[in-house]
């Protein structure tokens, strides 16, 4: 599809994009309606700008606190995954040690297991540590990832061995090589893993629901689910809440778009 006139392409893409975005448009519109307006047919297209739907979120839930929790949780998990996964991934990709493949495959088997299976044992561990309703409890299991390890290992395997060989001839040990040679080279991979982890962590729901039930210690996703429990089908308030909870990550995505796209493209290329 090269050359030629591009307007048919634009037309198709625009229609598709409109379909993709309409749900969000409807979300924003509803969030500004009164309940009565929201249940009127045909729909009210110019709402009465009921900002109190948003105020209600701040009144009912410690929104800023939950926002802070989400940021800390996301940052903690992401940094830990970047470190632990890349460290192990390098070893799996380049170092030789007995049992390497067995261990690696054992770790990968985690990917085949439905997440709910881990819930009770993980909860017991966090409870044993006395971390219920704390941020460490929220973060801990998400610090380790089989997927992240797999992805980083694939990435390290694509890097040329020559650079490493040179460093080794200079007498650098594996840790030094990893830290000062490989890690800088793996920046695109790290960025990819980083953005994916941020995304996953921000939206994670089930674990926070179980482990942190104190509204002060919840992340936004769990807070949103609690909001639904109280408001049932009061959609204007629910739409306002869902918009505020997901807006930060959307903004981040628009800013970091290039990295995220590269990251996803990378996971698909291997």
């Amino acid at each position: 599809m090269r050359n030629g006139r591009l307007w048919p392409v634009h037309l198709v893409l625009a229609v598709g994009a409109a379909a993709m975005v309409t749900p969000f448009f409807w979300q924003v519109l509803t969030s500004l309606k009164t309940f009565t307006e929201s249940t009127r047919m045909p729909p009210v297209w110019i709402p009465s700008f009921e900002w109190s739907n948003y105020a209600e979120i701040f009144d009912e839930s410690p929104f800023l606190r939950q926002f802070g929790n989400t940021v800390v949780m996301t940052a903690g998990r992401t940094l830990a995954q970047l470190l632990f996964c890349s460290l192990a991934a390098y070893a799996f990709a380049r170092l030789r040690f007995p049992g390497r493949n067995v261990v690696f495959i054992a770790l990968l088997s985690v990917l085949m297991v439905p997440g709910q299976l881990f819930l009770i044992p993980q909860y017991q561990i966090i409870q044993g540590l006395g971390w219920l309703n704390t941020l460490p409890g929220l973060i801990a299991p998400g610090m380790f990832s089989a997927f992240g390890t797999f992805m980083m290992r694939q990435f390290f395997m694509t890097l040329p061995r020559e650079v490493e060989e040179a460093a080794r001839l200079d007498g650098a040990g594996p840790l030094r090589i990893f830290w000062s040679v490989m890690l800088p080279l793996a920046r695109p991979g790290l960025l990819a893993l980083g953005v994916l982890t941020v995304l996953w962590s921000w939206n994670d729901l089930m674990w926070p629901l179980i482990v942190n039930t104190d509204p002060e210690q919840m992340p936004l996703s769990a807070g949103l689910s609690a909001l639904q429990g109280e408001h049932m089908t009061d959609y204007p308030v629910l739409m306002a809440g869902s918009l505020m909870a997901s807006a930060p990550i959307v903004v981040l995505f628009v800013i970091m778009q290039r990295q995220l796209i590269q990251g996803i493209a990378f996971t698909g290329s291997k």
Partner: protein, 318 residues
């Protein structure tokens, strides 16, 4: 001291240094396994404690009657016998496969979007991409709310739009005959952007010469697409479909969030994972639920193996 002597000394020094370096390298090689273990230790410990150990525990508990709070008592294969006798499981499994299978329908759409976005000379690419990508980054809890509102039988936008063309809609997620497809549609909506990005990367890696060669052979654009693009895109298609099937099999969040008490479509939409959740956490049959999870794990594994086997038939690695 003669010059020759100096040379010898220097030479000796050089040889010595090389030998020392070699020795160090050998030492390092010898200790490579130690480094290896040290570097994987934190991850293995974390994954072991938080993930592998729970799996082992669950396999054990699947052979026990593990009630709510009591200790587990060994019951052998009884949970598995009950599991195969329970018609709810057959239904949940069927639904689960439907989710996994139907979610593949999003792939052609994603390829289409990716192909259009890869059009040479197209402007506004990143603008379009952003719009297609928005659902990917939106919280599942928010996605569930937005769509249950869109699907609303009385006040939903979808039914309003349908009414404009004279179609009477239904309560999409409360109607047992539409609910499952409604959820699949939401799933596809959230994945199009993600998959399109993967396909765009795949398209970029296809060398131009191949198109040119095909064009010289007189192939039109459509033929080029089927003869060049699609085969060379097959690794990406493979990746996306494996991921899609696994996600479909583990479908839970949307169902948990969308189906509240008294939804007439609940039975028709139950997946193995959501049924597992009901059994384990609502009915308190943890041993039985563990057996369900083990079976699902085996099925996922088997399917993945099958997919990898089949890829030889249709995936072309350049």
């Amino acid at each position: 001291m003669s010059a020759g002597e100096v040379g010898t000394v220097e030479r000796a020094a050089v040889t010595g240094r090389v030998a020392a370096r070699r020795a160090r390298r050998r030492g390092l090689r010898d200790r490579e396994w130690l480094w290896g273990y040290a570097m994987i230790a934190p991850l293995v410990l974390g994954l072991g404690v938080f993930y592998l150990w729970p799996v082992a525990q669950s396999v054990y508990y699947s052979f026990t009657e593990w009630t709510l709070f009591g200790d587990a008592t060994w019951v052998g294969l009884r949970n598995y016998e009950r599991l195969f006798a329970d018609p709810a499981n057959a239904k949940a499994l069927k639904n689960t496969f439907l989710y996994g299978g139907l979610s593949l329908l999003g792939i052609p759409l994603s390829i289409g979007v990716a192909a259009l976005l890869s059009t040479r000379g197209l402007k506004l690419v990143s603008f379009y991409r952003t719009l297609y990508f928005l659902p990917v980054v939106t919280m599942p809890a928010a996605v569930a709310m937005i769509w249950s509102w869109l699907y609303n039988g009385d006040y939903g936008l979808i039914n309003y739009l349908l009414s404009l063309v004279g179609i009477r809609g239904t309560s999409w997620i409360a109607n047992p005959s539409t609910a499952l497809y409604a959820i699949v549609a939401v799933g596809i909506w959230t994945q199009i952007g993600y998959n399109a990005v993967i396909f765009m990367a795949g398209l970029q890696s296809i060398p131009d010469q191949l198109y040119e060669a095909a064009a010289l052979d007189g192939a039109g654009r459509v033929r080029q697409f089927f003869k060049v693009t699609l085969p060379l895109l097959s690794p990406s298609v493979f990746f996306v479909s494996v991921l899609g099937v696994i996600n479909g099999l583990q479908m839970f969040d949307l169902i948990y969030l969308l189906f509240r008490r008294g939804n007439p479509a609940r039975e028709e939409t139950q997946t193995v994972v959501s049924l597992f959740f009901t059994r384990a956490f609502e009915e308190g049959a943890k041993g039985y639920a563990a057996a369900m999870a083990v079976v699902l794990m085996v099925i996922t594994l088997a399917l993945t193996v099958v997919q990898f086997r089949m890829q030889k038939r249709w995936v072309h690695y350049a």
